[in-house]
């Protein structure tokens, strides 16, 4: 594997503990139809009907009809205006998954081979949604053959559900899931990405994996965003400019879901969601069904009101709109940041023992590593680029954000392509470190979009 460059580690207060809490069963579920990757626009259930756990509620016609499943049984209320399906009078589950209905699941077409049958089952039982294509980030074609599979046990961005939390009690399930993955491949390797640390759990997993010849262990430093799949695929030499196809990726959660579907024929109705951040008093991991009321979860974690709630981490998370009422099926973590920005007197000349920055420009550089209390402050005024070069030093994709910024400033679109904005992995670190507070991340995103638009009509012409 080629050496990973750039990256930056930030530590934020409000890290959820490794204990997974199970909150009380909800009476109503609010299942959002839109997630980061999916739009379940084709609703297949009727209003005011009763469904059982595991019923397909809707699917995304643009992405291989990936289904949205009912995480609990109950009565359906369609709420198209708010983009959600409400399940009322939720039937509690007694023993895990005991009342899952399996008969209504569509049977696999008989012309499929055994591998095809497995894929069909994974797709229809909601485990396929965990797969991602390394190059595009989209859902891969279930019937295609990947050129490699990358499985990652780590998520570094604060705060997402950590792999070690998921793995702690499910190690057997994880290894079984890995075994299930093998028939999907035809001698292509599985790269298991592992943090370069030696905890008891890590050693235990490594010990277990040792017997699996088709799994290659890849150890990476725990620095954001080295867990990015596109970056890993690039560094492992799996994708290149001429060959971007079919590198599949999966995280711990996905492997556990595959095991649940293929070993027990049960859908994964619950998700582990991390709630953390400086504005959370009791950061924790919660095991909840998809659609669990957001307000109740935030209340349980004792979040400060009027804060910014992010679906995902501080770098790449999206602001949760007030309209979203429940946990979506792709949510891994909710980060809560305070919107209260204090204006302190002559802050820039204070030593800054509590502020850590990319350049050791604060007295905190003299302290050992500590967790920082961050908020949504811009931390300075927008200025012209001073060419400090921090953005290119921190960039894991090894591109030069400041050069792209200058070309954008000159509206020089012709040369932009040369600086490879398409390699950007959307980590947001360039914007984070910029002392001139330029939002390089969104500038590069806009450039990428523009270049893609320019490219599409050409392709269509051929």
């Amino acid at each position: 594997m080629k050496r990973l460059k750039g990256g930056f580690d930030i530590r934020i207060v409000g890290r959820p503990s490794a204990i997974v809490q199970t909150p009380p069963e909800p009476s109503t579920l609010f299942i959002p139809l839109r997630t980061r990757r999916f739009h379940f626009s084709e609703i297949v259930v009727q209003d005011n009907t009763d469904v059982t756990q595991g019923t397909i509620l809707a699917c995304d016609p643009k992405q291989f009809n990936v289904p949205l499943l009912a995480s609990r049984g109950g009565t359906i209320h369609l709420d198209r205006t708010l983009g959600q399906i409400v399940i009322d009078k939720v039937k509690p589950v007694s023993a895990a998954g005991s009342n899952q209905q399996t008969s209504s699941w569509p049977h696999a077409p008989s012309n499929l081979d055994s591998s095809g049958q497995v894929r069909f089952k994974l797709l229809k039982m909601g485990a396929w949604q965990y797969f991602k294509d390394a190059a595009t980030g989209l859902l891969p074609d279930p019937m295609a053959i990947p050129s490699a599979l990358i499985v990652s046990t780590i998520t570094i961005e604060p705060f997402s559900v950590r792999g070690d939390v998921l793995l702690k009690e499910k190690l057997a399930s994880f290894t079984r899931g890995l075994e299930h993955l093998q028939p999907l491949l035809e001698y292509q390797p599985i790269f298991l990405v592992f943090p370069k640390i030696t905890t008891e759990l890590a050693l235990k997993i490594k010990e277990t994996i040792r017997g699996f010849a088709w799994i290659k262990l890849v150890e990476i430093p725990v620095t954001y965003p080295f867990d990015d799949f596109r970056l890993l695929a690039r560094k492992l030499g799996l994708i290149s400019k001429s060959n971007k196809d079919n590198v599949w990726t999966l995280r711990t959660e996905g492997v556990l879901a595959i095991d649940s579907v293929l070993t027990n024929s049960q859908i994964v109705a619950e998700k582990v969601v991390a709630i953390g951040g400086p504005a959370v008093k009791k950061p924790a991991h919660f095991k909840v069904p998809v659609g669990y009321p957001l307000a109740e979860l935030l209340h349980m974690a004792e979040c400060e009101t009027g804060s910014r709630y992010l679906n995902g981490g501080v770098f790449s998370g999206a602001i949760i709109s007030e309209l979203q009422k429940g946990i979506d099926c792709e949510c891994g973590g909710i980060t809560v940041l305070s919107e209260q920005v204090n204006r302190s007197f002559l802050k820039f000349v204070t030593p800054g023992f509590d502020r850590r920055s990319f350049a050791p420009a604060f007295a905190s550089a003299l302290r050992p590593a500590f967790s920082e209390k961050v908020d949504t402050a811009l931390c300075g005024e927008g200025r012209a680029c001073v060419n400090c070069g921090f953005c290119s030093k921190v960039c894991p994709a090894e591109i030069v954000p400041s050069a792209i910024h200058k070309l954008v400033y000159q509206s020089n679109m012709d040369e932009l392509e040369f600086y490879r904005p398409d390699l950007c992995v959307d980590c947001g670190l360039c914007s984070y470190v910029c002392p001139s507070k330029i939002n390089l991340y969104s500038e590069i995103a806009a450039v990428k979009m523009k270049l893609r638009e320019e490219l599409t009509p050409e392709k269509a012409g051929h």
Binding site: V341, L378, R383, L423, P435
Partner: protein, 362 residues
């Protein structure tokens, strides 16, 4: 300090759009954001930002220059203070006028220029020349290019070069015999009229006449020369602080000093009677100050690590060449200007190579 913040917040609407004093908005904004950290918040991902901003960035450079400024006070007396005040006042006015005309924000970059510039002037330079030079530096060197961040040349160096070319006599005379003892010249106000304190030449000037002074005073600072350039120890102390905070790049500094050392070393090896030892050149004149505080200006130096090595090498080698083979006594500022011109080109070349390497990546 909440009372002050309340007053400022109450005044804010007058300086905002359609306020009575909208024209002076930049000035108010600068004052408000100088006193209190900004209330701006992030709007989209990434939702948190690094606490380092340009104000901190620039103030650290000023902190790093405190030792050599104090050394300047000690060796050359209280007149240094007037030179600094004139530099800040005249340059500050130019900066504000441009910000108001262009309706842009006042940039912190000037805080650094305003201090670097007086430190590289002869201590008895007439104050009107100080003002003229800083005006030239700020306007021609920076504002005409679009302000801090878009300038090609280091404004302080541009201002000094202008003076050196336009007023060569004033810029190469009026040196002060450095103070000594416990109080140095801290109680004196030495001007061009104080005949007993005036010295004829700096060590580099004497070198042109074939007189080779000792090395040690060059590093201690008790030699005549520009205000902040004489004390090697003070410069290195402040400079190391700057390198440790990574505001200045150690690569640039190392490259300038090593290349100058090697170049001077080669010359000394070829003809030891004509050329002085390499270490002497490192300590003499403005090389140390230039290497630590002027060559490292991020705006006018390359952003790439590889580029910094080449850029530094240009400065180091050209300085020694000018010192030994031209009519000019000191070559650091011309060398830095030359490096400034080359730096966008160097960056471009490095980027080309860097991107070539990424050609097949996806």
């Amino acid at each position: 300090m909440t009372w002050l913040l309340k007053i400022l917040e109450k005044m804010q609407p007058h300086f905002g759009p359609k306020g009575k004093a909208e024209r002076f908005g930049p000035l108010f904004e600068a004052a408000e954001n100088f006193l209190f950290s900004t209330s701006e918040r992030t709007k989209s991902a990434p939702h948190v930002r690094d606490p380092l901003d340009l104000k901190r960035f620039m103030s650290l450079v000023i902190v790093a220059m405190i030792p050599c400024t104090l050394a300047g006070f000690y060796f050359f007396g209280l007149r240094v203070f007037s030179v600094i005040i004139v530099s800040y006042a005249i340059g500050g006015i130019a900066e504000v006028v441009f910000a108001v005309i262009r309706k842009e924000k006042i940039n912190e970059g000037f805080l650094v220029t305003g201090l670097i510039y007086p430190l590289i002037l002869p201590p008895t330079l007439p104050l009107w020349m100080v003002g003229l030079g800083v005006l030239f530096g700020v306007i021609m060197g920076k504002e005409l290019f679009g302000g801090t961040g878009r300038n090609l040349f280091n404004p302080a160096v541009a201002g000094r070069c202008f003076l050196a070319v336009s007023y060569p006599v004033a810029m190469s005379s009026g040196w002060i015999v450095p103070g000594s003892g416990l109080a140095g010249r801290l109680t004196e106000y030495v001007s061009a009229n104080s005949l007993d304190a005036i010295s004829k030449a700096t060590p580099l000037g004497l070198l042109k006449q074939g007189i080779h002074t000792d090395i040690l005073p060059l590093f201690m600072g008790n030699v005549s020369g520009c205000i902040g350039e004489t004390s090697g120890i003070a410069i290195v102390a402040g400079g190391l602080f700057l390198l440790m905070t990574r505001i200045a790049s150690w690569r640039t500094v190392a490259s300038v000093l090593v290349s100058a050392f090697v170049m001077a070393g080669i010359l000394h090896y070829v003809n030891p009677t004509l050329f002085v030892p390499a270490l002497w050149h490192i300590g003499a004149g403005g090389l140390l100050f230039g290497a630590f505080f002027m060559a490292t200006d991020p705006v006018t130096s390359p952003a790439t690590n590889t580029g910094k090595w080449f850029y530094g090498a240009i400065i180091g080698v050209v300085t020694i060449l000018i010192r030994n083979f031209s009519g000019y006594v000191e070559g650091v500022m011309f060398a830095i200007l030359l490096g400034n011109i080359a730096s966008p080109l160097i960056d471009e070349i490095v980027y080309k190579i860097q991107m070539k390497r990424l050609e097949n990546e996806a």
